[in-house]
Symmetry: D2
Subunit: 322 residues, 4 copies
């Protein structure tokens, strides 16, 4: 499938939430509330539900206690109820076997399916528009809640980066079944696809694939949350440093996406990005920016060296096995 | 027409360019090149064509010598060639009499029509994806050109705000014929619409209407250009101050749109905004934020007083007449 | 006294702390801890002691319950114990009647004196270098404590602005007895001094006088606290807005000092500034920048209008009396 | 000499200028004007004189054509003419053989001496307070000129870092003869001094020594120029990247000094820093922050890896010899 074959049919409206698996769930939830400054909106026996102050849905992050770190599932809200039904028909016609699941915490029925690289995707349309309790309400009528002003005080979920044993196949799945469009891609000199940045909104990317170094299935590279400005990313880095959170990379700028970022590991080991900046894509016929990674190349915008672990580590960690 | 009646049919992909009328065209062009830091890409007998460094089309601003300041036209690129044809059919069916026009400077054939409040809209699809000459090319493959690093160095066109004698009718035209969606609106206590902020992308707004204080037709409130960060808006304010450009309002924050802004008058008298920040709208069923302006209210976010001229002035200036 | 007569003798090393009088002391302390993000380090029957995270002394703000808002005293640390003694001798020789007072909360003996305009100044040298408890300690060895990351999270005290019935006399007192140097001044067209910005460090100002509109004695214009960047000032403005704190002026830029600021009233009515930016003065023979305020002039850098209350209000408020 | 032995006698008021030696002087001057945005104020047969827009003296950088890159000299302005004479007497008494030299470009007679590690220091007092020509004058009366708004648009010179074969001896020289005070220092585990950060103003440092890896004499680590904010450092990094200037390290934050920085090599090979942020020291009895570098340690604030060249490279480059 080439870019020219992208569906005109809109499917996903935006990334809705991500479920993270967490061996040390209590510490992970404390990280997201105290350090990232998200709000805990609900808890069940094994899961906690959290939100950024500008997320318009009830939650954007579900943390579930689990033996190993990694991804539970990622969920995209569709542009309409009809688009959800059409997507399920198309998936079924293409031979995928998913299932309808009850939503939780303000979300209606969803359809869950695993793509070829093993990641679980959920599609749903019904959702609750969050109304903050009085003490968290904002004077700004266009904000679901006021900033928590706590820790990094992230605004909202931004994107997910999935490690894939076959980036090309994963990209094609997202283009065909989520209505994703290719914004940028990373190739080896021989043309092998090792990274794909895709969008379902005007943002440069909402869903990203990176080649899994272990060629394993169903692994997570990172989940990203947004702050207002690059200054807020710098501020987050100091908060991480003072609280002993491991910063893997950044603050620095990605060539791809023009994003200003910092990567940190949450206590259960999943990689989390706090980001700002970047650019928007308006062209309906955008030509993807193509970058070729020469062997051994480990530098990017501003000549920032990229640590080896950024390419080697994903969750669940299989480095002990592989 | 209520929000629930908005068209599902996508028409406009994004704001393409604006034509400004300028009695002192030479000074206006100098302002946009030297002070805003845009690049002059072409000139004809009466017009100059300029671009921000991240605009992906050849130009986003046309300055045309004219006896009075004001708006020439605004142009939206459609999502496809088919969407353009469908839009023209719908306009014709609704009784609007437009005409097909040859595009200029990299833009294909467009269709121009005046809506009820007198503003000229152009719709087009064919366009050139700008390729910078070697000396202006960027090392970043996702940028059409490198930042000019000159003056305010604006990135791209952001939105247009039109003064309208009938905001409700203007809003309905944009919803019906441009596929615009209502993001926020401003009402008088009696429910009269005096402002409408609408989007055709994920940005909170691309096209805005504000009640024309003189109830005149075809007047411009402002055209806005984007910079990377709020710090860059502050930097722009110092540049304006040092070069003797009249700052009317800001830097400050709008309640509506959460935008950080500064307004300046270019030498021919048109109001120009340099903006950063704000928020994106992802919900396909976003509930517009409604603000009611109490009589005499002249303050907004952070308690910033709004100068009288911000409500009273538009171009062409009719204050001498009315 | 002209600038050329300034003492070569160093007296004050820096502004140490300010005592604010607060009718609603509990609300005032809550404002400084929760909204400004300072830390409460001690409390006595009528007073609370607070610090910014980078203040190297134990406290920089003392809040004392009192029937009316206003200034208790301001305290400057001297460059040495000898400088303190020499200053007391000079004050005594000049006819001032002060007294030695026991310091509190980590501060040694000080000498308190009222200058001609009624403000109480304290000079002291002995002081405790603050060592943060384990949970507030910073990984950065050059910081007394880690950032509280709470509310505006102000770093340290920056300067005090005192309202004076006779700016010239107040300025001369500071030059003669504190070793202050004049950085900038504000005059009326007839040459009357209505503002003086003075420094005892490399900062453009540590102590400022502004003409008291009521020509009253011993009134406070504002106390200022510092944040890292202009972005942090913008962030503070949102925090003030969301928490219902009255913003009087800003965020904006002062011509004088190049300071980026926002002014807010704390619950007891004292005006507080949060500031960033500005410039440093290194020249030992700096020529003060002189600004003349034309009658009715109410605009400054970036053409920002200055609200009337900024010139009219000081604490204690005498507008009901005068 | 310990910190307690520091002179109470003030000598240097501030860093005045630096002379850089440049094999490719034309390219170096073009870098400082076009990329850093400084202004060329004068030229002689072999030298060019440049200034940052807020430098109050005529120039802060002298670029002299020379066979090898490196330092010509650094010049400190003294607090007074008397302090200059006293410093010369003290140097002479200590056995240093300097000489009086005619100043150039607005600077009066200076005294030049080489300290034990070979660097040439100049002390002077007489200087011209720069008055900008009309087209470069600022509306702000406290600025020597308006911002050039060109390239990185650096404000002023900030500090110099000298490579020394004996950091302890170099530090003692600066304390004894420049009146410098120790702010922070870097030690090896065995107590060997390998870095000293010293101040003559309220800034955390104006003059810095770092151990010369080649144990050579008279080498330069870097010269630093200041911008307004961390955002401006990020902006500078993009400018360097687009213009092909080699970025060695950063943007990132130093533990020491809390400075936000980016290091770049100018065309003749000298390392240049653009910096913002940091902290001020007000305590007359400041206790230096001591950092110990464990063997192999190459990370700092935010876990940023430090490239090997940052420790290994200085000018003139002797790596080909040593």
């Amino acid at each position: 499938m080439t870019v020219g074959d992208e569906q005109d049919r809109a499917v996903a409206a935006h990334l809705g939430h991500v479920e993270l698996l967490a061996p040390d769930a209590a510490a992970t939830v404390a990280f997201f509330t105290d350090v990232l400054g998200m709000s805990l909106v609900a808890q069940s026996e094994r899961s906690a539900y959290l939100r950024g102050w500008r997320d318009y849905e009830r939650y954007s992050l579900k943390v579930t206690e689990s033996p190993a770190a990694g991804l539970g599932h990622i969920a995209f809200r569709t542009v309409s109820a009809e688009a959800l039904d059409a997507a399920v028909r198309a998936l079924t016609a293409a031979g995928f076997e998913g299932k309808w699941v009850d939503g939780d915490e303000g979300q209606g029925t969803g359809y869950t399916v695993r793509n070829g690289d093993g990641h679980a995707f959920e599609l749903y349309f019904e959702t609750e528009h969050y109304v903050a309790p009085r003490e968290a309400a904002s004077v700004y009528r266009n904000q679901a809640a006021r900033s928590t002003s706590r820790g990094a005080a992230v605004e909202r979920i931004d994107h997910v980066n999935l490690a894939s044993p076959d980036v090309r196949a994963s990209r094609e799945f997202a283009q065909r079944h989520l209505g994703a469009r290719l914004s940028e891609q990373l190739l080896l000199p021989d043309g092998t696809e090792i990274g794909a940045w895709m969008r379902v909104t005007s943002k440069a990317y909402d869903l990203t694939y990176i080649a899994d170094p272990a060629r394993a299935r169903d692994r997570l590279h990172h989940v990203a949350f947004r702050v207002e400005s690059r200054e807020e990313v710098l501020r987050a880095a100091d908060i991480f440093t003072e609280r002993g959170c491991f910063i893997e990379l950044g603050p620095a700028k990605h060539d791809i996406g023009s994003t200003f970022f910092v990567y940190v590991y949450e206590p259960s080991g999943n990689r989390i990005e706090v980001c700002a900046g970047g650019y928007l894509i308006f062209a309906p016929d955008w030509t993807p920016a193509v970058w070729t990674l020469e062997p051994g190349e480990r530098f990017q915008a501003w000549n920032t060296p990229i640590v080896e672990s950024f390419f080697a580590y994903a969750t669940p960690d299989v480095s002990g096995i592989g």
